[in-house]
């Protein structure tokens, strides 16, 4: 894509997180490719999405090749399965030489273990719990983040809502 400036992103998993991310990055001018095992999930991307959609098993190296993982700057795994995300980012890195990989995980222990192995992991369990706790305890620690979250929600409504 001409306006993508060669910035290519592959996202595995077109659930709420994957589809939102895909739409936002596409608006930001990235060339986005989304992989999901069911074509039906792509309805979450809406009609205006300009990226590429690929139906397939994200752990199958043929699917990854088709999605152009080897020519991408970033590979992001946001399926419902922690182990799927962990394995996908490792294949992207070891087989296709992806420089930056990100895995969304639910299990904080796995998140920590794989972070130590050099994978960028984001554990949404501790993220959500931590933010909610800071609200309950009225700690000011997460004030900045809460504002950030509000602005992200606004972005969502503007860009893709």
């Amino acid at each position: 894509m001409a306006d993508s400036n060669g910035r290519r992103v592959v996202i595995l998993g077109c659930g709420r997180v994957g589809s939102t991310l895909a739409r936002q990055l596409a608006v930001d001018g990235y060339a986005v490719t989304v992989i999901d095992s069911t074509a039906d999930s792509f309805r979450r991307l809406g009609g205006k999405f300009k990226g590429t959609k690929i139906v397939g098993n994200g752990l199958d190296q043929d699917t990854m090749r088709k999605a152009g993982v080897e020519h991408s700057n970033v590979f992001i795994a946001v399926t419902q399965g922690d182990n799927t995300n962990i394995m996908a980012v490792q294949i992207a890195r070891e087989v296709f030489g992806a420089k930056r990989v990100v895995a969304r995980l639910y299990d904080p222990i796995r998140s920590q273990a794989y972070r130590e192995m050099g994978i960028v992991t984001l554990c949404t369990t501790t993220l959500a719990a931590g933010l909610i706790r800071s609200t309950v305890t009225e700690s000011s620690e997460c004030d900045g983040l809460r504002e950030k979250l509000e602005s992200w929600d606004m972005d969502y409504l503007e860009q893709v809502g």
């Binding site: 182990n83 294949i91 070891e94 299990d107 273990a113």
Partner: protein, 220 residues
């Protein structure tokens, strides 16, 4: 040896049963409750119910003192994570993973799994061997020397029929180690003659396997 098997499908079940018979200490972990009850009826306290990817379960199951961790669930991603976590969190000395998609074999090895087994790949190899030539069957591989142990059937039409072993010109990296005749394995001598329906066991370097095959094959 303390062996932890994760995944109570057919492979996990028969493997655990066999290991118990061989007097090893075995723990079979199965996630699904219903499958667990079926297994527990058969195998007793060898079986435990839980998710082998969860560190708490792994600690309870004694991963820290396991000599071998074997991950044989039906999902490659689970088998990978079980073995990696066993290494990372519990310093498991040896991990074995079942690999369903053969293209994952190389990745798993790169990612630190000690031994990988793909039945898909094994069956494919056997079929390929059979399609290429009817009578040579791989029965084992020696990992580091690139050597294979193969079994070759001597058919009625084989060119070696009635020949003496010493008259065969074998490739440099091949050696006949036994001849199985009427279910008896014999140590072949220079003057052993090949008979129809003999099975010849040979050790051979992978790159000269086809040379060895052509010596025994029909129409040579």
């Amino acid at each position: 040896m303390y062996v932890i098997v994760v995944g109570g499908g057919k492979i996990g079940y028969f493997l655990s049963k066999r290991l118990v018979q061989e007097d090893h200490e075995v723990l079979l972990l199965e996630k699904d409750r219903r499958r667990y009850s079926t297994l527990a009826e058969e195998l007793g306290d060898v079986v435990a119910q839980g998710d082998g990817c969860e560190v708490r379960m792994m600690a309870e199951a004694g991963f820290a003192r396991a000599d071998v961790v074997v991950a044989v669930t039906g999902d490659d991603e689970d088998n990978l994570v079980i073995c990696q976590m066993a290494k990372k969190k519990f310093q498991a000395p040896r991990t074995v993973a079942r690999v369903n998609d053969p293209s994952n074999l190389a990745v798993f090895q790169k990612l630190g799994i000690d031994t990988t087994v793909s039945s898909t790949q094994i069956i494919f190899n056997l079929l390929e061997q059979q399609i290429e030539q009817g009578e040579i069957i791989p029965i084992g591989a020696l990992k580091n020397g690139n050597l294979e142990i193969v079994m070759i059937g001597v058919s009625e039409k084989s060119p070696v029929l009635g020949e003496l072993i010493k008259s065969l010109v074998l490739p440099g990296n091949a050696m006949i180690i036994s001849v199985v005749r009427n279910d008896n394995a014999i140590l072949p001598q220079a003057d052993t003659r090949f008979e129809a329906e003999d099975s010849v066991i040979a050790i051979v370097a992978a790159d000269v396997e086809s040379d060895l095959r052509s010596i025994f094959s029909e129409g040579h």
